[in-house]
Symmetry: C2
Subunit: 395 residues, 2 copies
C-alpha cells in the first residue's frame, strides 16, 4: 500500500500473541507534526489506551501511533494506564518526538496485563523497521480474528498538489458501531484546517463505520484516527474551497471501503447483506429499525440458510420500537418485491427469492411508506462458524 508523503510505518512480532512469529506491534509515524482527529468507543468500560489517547487527540498534534494486538489492556486498572503511558514514552524516546504526540492503541484479550518487557524490545524493533512501504506490515500486525489485512489508498489531484489518503483497519467480531468502532487509522498528506479535520471524521464516520454491524457488540478498545500532515503542499482545505468537496468524497470513500472490508471479513460470515429502510419518518428511526433487523438472530440465521423468510423481517421491524403502520409495509429482496401492504405479494415464487438469497451479497429493502427518511446498514449472517470462532476464541 502506498504511503502518503511524510509517513512511514512498520509491523513486527514481539511475542504478545500466542502464535510464534505472528506480527503484533504496529507503528505509524509522521515526519512532521500532523493534525489529528479521533473517535473513541462509547462503551462505558474503556480500555487504558482509549483513556490515554483521548487526551492526546484533545491536544491536537500527533507524530506517531503505536498499536499492539494480542492484548486489549482493558479492565487492567491503574497498572493498565501506567503501561499505556509507558508505551507512549518508550515510543517517543525511540523516535525522538514529544511523548504528548504519541497515540497508543491496543486490541486482543481483555483483563490481562501487558508484557512490558516484550513490548519494550518490540518498540525498538518496530522503530528500526519504519519505511514508506511498511503499511501492509502494520495492517497485518493489528489483526486478531481478522482473516486478512484491511488497507485502502486513494490519490487525488488538488490545485497543484497530488494528495494521498491511506487507511488501515482491523475488525471481524465484536463489531457494532457506537460513534466509533474497531480500530482504523487513516493518514493523509493533505493540508486540512484543524477544526475541519474533526468534523470530517465525525461526518464520514456516520455513514461508514457507524453503519456496519457483525454482532451488535461494542468493544472496549475501539478507535478511529485521522492524521493530516500537510506534506502534499496543497492550499489548506476548508469548506469554502471547491477542492474541499472532492477531498471529502475521497476521504469518505476510503472510510467506506475500510468499513466494508470489516464486514466482508465478518466472523464466520457467508453473506454480506445491506439492510435498507426507506420511507421512514426520521433518519434516526430508519437507522434504528435497520439495526434491529441486522441484529436479529432469526433474520441472520435465515440468511445463512438462504431462506427468504420475510416473516422474520416483519417480526423484527415490529419489535424495533419505531412507529409505523404494518399494513403499509413493503419488502423487497433486491428487485423481487415480496411484501406489499404488509402481506405476501400474490405472484411471488419461492424460487425467485431463493435465487437472490443464494448470492453472496444482496440487499433487503423495507419501505414504510410514511416519510422521506432512509438509512442503510451493512451486516453479515450468523453461521456455525461464528459460533465456533467465539466458543473457542478468548477475546
Amino acid at each position: 500500500m502506498l504511503a502518503p508523503k511524510g509517513y512511514k510505518a512498520a509491523g513486527v512480532a514481539c511475542g504478545l500473541k500466542n502464535l510464534v512469529a505472528a506480527k503484533d506491534l504496529a507503528l505509524i509515524y509522521s515526519e512532521v507534526p500532523a493534525y489529528v482527529a479521533g473517535l473513541f468507543t462509547r462503551n462505558r468500560v474503556r480500555a487504558a489506551p482509549v483513556l490515554y489517547s483521548r487526551n492526546v487527540v484533545r491536544r491536537g498534534l500527533c507524530r506517531a501511533i503505536i498499536i499492539n494486538s494480542g492484548n486489549a489492556n482493558a479492565c487492567t486498572g491503574q497498572r493498565g494506564l501506567t503501561d499505556a503511558k509507558k508505551t507512549a514514552a518508550l515510543t517517543s524516546s525511540a523516535l525522538n518526538v514529544p511523548a504528548g504526540q504519541v497515540l497508543v492503541s491496543s486490541t486482543g484479550v481483555i483483563g490481562e496485563f501487558l508484557a512490558m518487557d516484550k513490548l519494550e524490545r518490540g518498540v525498538q524493533d518496530v522503530v528500526a523497521r519504519l519505511s514508506p512501504h511498511g503499511f501492509s506490515d502494520a495492517a497485518q500486525a493489528i489483526m486478531t480474528t481478522d482473516t486478512c489485512p484491511k488497507m485502502v489508498s486513494e490519490k487525488l489531484r488538488l490545485d497543484q498538489a497530488e494528495v494521498t489518503i491511506s487507511g488501515i483497519a482491523k475488525g471481524a467480531g465484536m463489531i457494532r458501531p457506537q460513534l466509533a468502532t474497531m480500530l482504523a487509522f487513516i493518514c493523509t498528506d493533505a493540508k486540512v484546517e484543524k477544526p475541519v479535520l474533526s468534523s470530517l471524521l465525525r461526518e464520514g464516520n456516520q455513514s461508514t463505520f457507524n453503519r456496519i454491524t457483525v454482532d451488535g457488540e461494542t468493544s472496549t478498545n475501539d478507535m478511529v484516527v485521522l492524521l493530516a500532515n500537510g506534506e502534499a503542499g496543497n492550499s489548506s482545505l476548508s469548506p469554502g474551497a471547491s477542492d474541499f468537496w472532492r477531498f471529502r468524497e475521497s476521504l469518505f470513500g476510503v472510510m467506506g471501503q475500510l468499513a466494508r472490508a470489516i464486514i466482508e471479513d465478518g466472523e464466520g460470515r457467508t453473506k454480506v447483506v445491506e439492510i435498507c429502510v426507506r420511507g421512514a419518518g426520521k433518519r434516526m428511526q430508519a437507522e434504528k429499525m435497520a439495526f434491529r433487523v441486522a441484529h436479529s438472530p432469526l433474520v441472520k440465521t435465515a440468511i445463512f440458510g438462504e431462506d427468504p423468510n420475510w416473516g422474520r423481517v416483519m417480526a423484527a421491524i415490529g419489535d424495533s420500537g419505531v412507529p409505523f403502520d404494518p399494513d403499509a409495509v413493503s419488502i423487497s429482496f433486491e428487485d423481487a418485491l415480496v411484501v406489499e401492504h404488509g402481506m405476501k405479494v400474490a405472484g411471488t415464487t419461492e424460487d425467485n427469492l431463493k435465487r437472490v438469497l443464494q448470492q453472496e451479497q444482496f440487499k433487503i429493502v423495507i419501505d414504510l411508506h410514511r416519510g422521506d427518511a432512509e438509512a442503510s446498514v451493512l451486516t453479515t449472517d450468523l453461521s456455525y462458524e461464528y459460533v465456533k470462532i467465539n466458543a473457542s476464541y478468548r477475546t
Copy 2:
C-alpha cells in the same frame, strides 16, 4: 395433567402442520363462564388472533380457547382477521357458547393463510374429544420447535375448598418477553375477583415470563391467558383475604415453572444460565443490564464453549446504556469471584471457573456496588444447534 374443576381440554391433528398426524389444534373449555385476564405481544406487527382475542379479553368472560399451531395467521391482513373470527364462530357453535366468549390463538409460519377447510373439520373433531384428561394432548398440539410439551399443575387448600391451578405453554425460540411472550394458558377453578385477576397476571408476568430470553426476539403472536371459573367453591379471593397471598404464591409458582420450562427447551441450548445484576441504582437498570448480557452473542457463545470469558461480560455491561463505575464492578460465576474493582481477582484459577461453566445450570452475578436494586434474567447459550434449527426452520 390434572384439570381444575369445570375444565376440559383436547388436542387433535387437523393437517395444518406438514407432518402427517402431528397434533396442531388444541381446545380448552370451561363448563361455566370464567373470568379472563390476558397479556398480548408488544410487537407492533400483531397477528390476527392477537387483534381478535384482545377484544374478547376486554369484555372479560371466556368459555373456550381454540389454539392452532403450524400457522401463525400473521401478516395476513383482512382475510386473516376474518379467518380468526370464523374460527371463533365455528368453535362457539360446536360448543353452543357465545361467540364473544371464545379466544383464538395461533402459532407457526408467518404470512400464510389458514386452511379453513382443515380447521373446520378439526374444530368438530377437537370438540368431540374434550375431556378433563385432555390437557396433555392440548399441550402437545400447541408445540412448534418445542421438543417437549410444557404443563404445570398445583393444588392448594383455601378455607373449605381445594383449588387447582393448571397451565400449559409453548415456546423455544423467538423468545424475548415484552409484557407477554410466547403462548401460555393457565386455568384455575378458584373464585377470584375480576379486577384482581388482571393485576395478578400482570404482576406474576413481571417476574416470570418477562424475565426469560432465548434470542431477544419478540413474536407477533404471543399471549398469556389466565382463566378463573370459580368452580372450586372457595370464598372469592381479593388482597384482603389471608388465603389470597397463598393463592398468589401458587399462581406465580406455576407461571415461573412454565417460564423456566420454555428456557429449558430453548432452541439448541446446552446451558440454562441466570444472569443476576445486583447493587444497581434502579430495578429497571438492573433488568436492562441483565438483558444486555443475556442477549450478547459473544457471552452466549463463550458459555456454549464453557469459556469463563468475563471480559465479554464487562464489555456487554459497558454497552448496556446503564450508568455505573467500571472500577467498582465485581463478577462471580456461582460462588467463584472472578472480578473485583473491575479487574481480575489475583487468586482466580481458570480451572475453578471452568468447573462452574461445565455445569448445565449456573448463575453469573454482576454487582455494581452502587445501590440496592437487583434483577435476574434466565437465558440460554448460543450453539451450533440454534443456528441449524433457524437456518432451516420456516417460522
